[in-house]
């Protein structure tokens, strides 16, 4: 399935808990903000939002990463644009 992952850089404080839990999806940039990558790879320019194809297991872990963010800076949407997190 495809999901869209969005980081709000204005809320992100660089705690990096998302990187700890889902290192294949999040990486810290030089501004100490989390960016979204695709299975460990940054296929094009750095970005705060990206659509990636994931398995259910991967989605569960990405949601766990989003839940771990102390500032709720990460949102996850399904293919229809329905917000999966924060629910």
């Amino acid at each position: 399935m495809n999901i869209r992952i969005v980081v709000d850089p204005d809320l992100c404080i660089g705690a990096a808990s998302c990187v700890t839990i889902a290192p294949d999806t999040f990486v810290m940039n030089t501004e100490n903000k989390a960016e979204v990558i695709d299975h460990g790879i940054m296929p094009d320019a750095p970005t705060y939002e990206r659509t990636v194809e994931v398995t259910q297991e991967e989605l569960d872990n990405i949601i766990l990463g989003a839940q771990s963010c102390p500032t709720l800076a990460i949102s996850v949407f399904d293919e229809n644009g329905t917000q999966l997190y924060p629910a």
Binding site: G14, A16, T20, M28, T30, N32, T71, L72
Partner: protein
């Protein structure tokens, strides 16, 4: 049915309850919390105070959520007695609650000056943040030189106050007992970089100072040890945390700087666990017991302890880190950064506005502080994670 009693409804205790419910459908879970609020993010409080988010966005759970999860919450309640031997606690309401499993997740206690007039602010919880919002509004209505504040302290909370006052254009003096920011952790090099940044943004630093708050009903300023008085419409205090040692010691629970637990978050008493800011945890990556007061750590410990209680005994395995900033300059603490516990501290300045301090024990890298350029963070975290100590 297993009766699990959790003291503390912050991120550690609530995560433990949530994860345990996933793993044990039948467990009877009770959460005792001093505050009257459902779980909220303390990390979001500065965002709320700076009007970046609405107040309701601070809350991460609703009361309905606890009911849906079948987690009984006793809010506005303290524990008066913990009887580990006879397996019960007594609450401030006089109720006795028996337990099979006890999780101590009560957090740390804020250090306070004591006897303060109105206008002195602490930033521990959402009630404090509400009061701070009001004080800032009053201060912002003042004109010219009267629109000023004093920050007391040189750690994480003090930095939040500096950032908040700067955000609202409130002139700010900072009073520190030590020689600079995090004087117990940082070298002169890192302190100089941070001091230079603060001064360049118009913040006035007063280091190595004792202090006394001036004002009877409302704070008027701070008198320093050298006799000078800094006038202030409000005062933000961030002078650290401590564990409520005496309460737990009286209960016979093993205490040092926090509640002592092994890598499985177990106290020496069977079925009694401690997690979060009040726990002194044996950290397998740094080879000693450490008290970490940060969100990610507390949340991860909540998850870990739930697994152990559900029968999947799991060691706590996280390289702890904490990130903040001083007026936009990044600061990251990784692992064990207690200078007194390090055999060696190596510092290197990577530029005029950037430095790295590395803390070593038994020849191994156990902690680091990054100021300015924080890009080495991932590599340092990976190095600490590889550590294995004989314990």
């Amino acid at each position: 049915m297993k009766r699990v009693l959790i003291l503390g409804g912050g991120i550690a205790g609530t995560t433990a309850a949530e994860e345990l419910r996933k793993l044990e459908v039948d467990a009877e879970i009770t959460l005792v919390e001093q505050e009257h609020h459902p779980l909220y993010s303390r990390v979001l409080l500065p965002h709320y105070v700076k009007e970046k988010i609405a107040r309701e966005k601070v809350f991460l759970k609703t009361w309905e959520w606890y009911a849906q999860q079948r987690i009984e919450v006793m809010s506005g309640v303290r524990l008066e007695v913990i009887d580990v031997k006879n397996r019960f606690v007594q609450t401030s309401e006089g109720r006795e609650l028996p337990f099979d499993v006890l999780i101590l997740a009560g957090g740390g206690e804020l250090n306070v000056i004591g006897g303060e007039p109105r206008g002195v602010s602490y930033l521990r919880g959402v009630d404090d943040a509400d009061e701070l919002v009001g004080l800032i509004k009053e201060t912002c209505m003042k004109k010219g030189d009267e629109r000023c504040a004093v920050v007391i302290g040189g750690g994480f909370i003090a930095l939040e106050y500096i950032n908040i006052f700067s955000h609202f254009g409130i002139r700010c003096d900072v009073v520190m007992r030590g020689s600079g920011f995090w004087s117990n952790v940082l070298s002169d090099c890192a302190q100089k970089i941070l001091a230079k940044k603060a001064i360049s943004e118009g913040v006035v630093l007063h280091t190595g100072q004792t202090f006394e708050i001036v004002g009877d009903r409302h704070a008027e300023g701070v008198r320093l040890g050298n006799g000078s008085v800094l006038s202030a419409a409000m005062i933000g205090v961030g002078i650290g945390m401590h564990a409520d040692v005496s309460f737990y010691r009286d209960a016979g629970i093993q205490i040092d700087r926090g509640i002592i637990v092994n890598e499985y978050l177990e106290t020496r008493d069977a079925d009694v666990y401690a997690i979060g800011d009040g726990a002194e945890v044996l950290d397998i990556h740094v080879g000693r017991r450490v008290v970490y007061g940060n969100w990610m750590n507390a949340q991860a410990q909540g998850r870990t302890v739930a697994k152990t209680i559900a029968g999947q005994r799991t060691a706590f395995d996280l390289v702890s880190s904490y990130a903040t900033n001083l007026l936009g300059m990044h600061i990251v603490f990784i692992g064990d950064v207690d200078r007194r516990a390090a055999d060696e501290v190596k510092q290197r300045s990577t530029s005029e506005e950037s430095c790295v301090e590395e803390f070593y024990r038994e020849g191994k890298l156990v902690g680091a502080v990054l100021v300015g350029d924080v890009t080495p963070r991932a590599a340092i975290t990976a190095r600490i994670k590889e550590n294995r100590f004989e314990m």
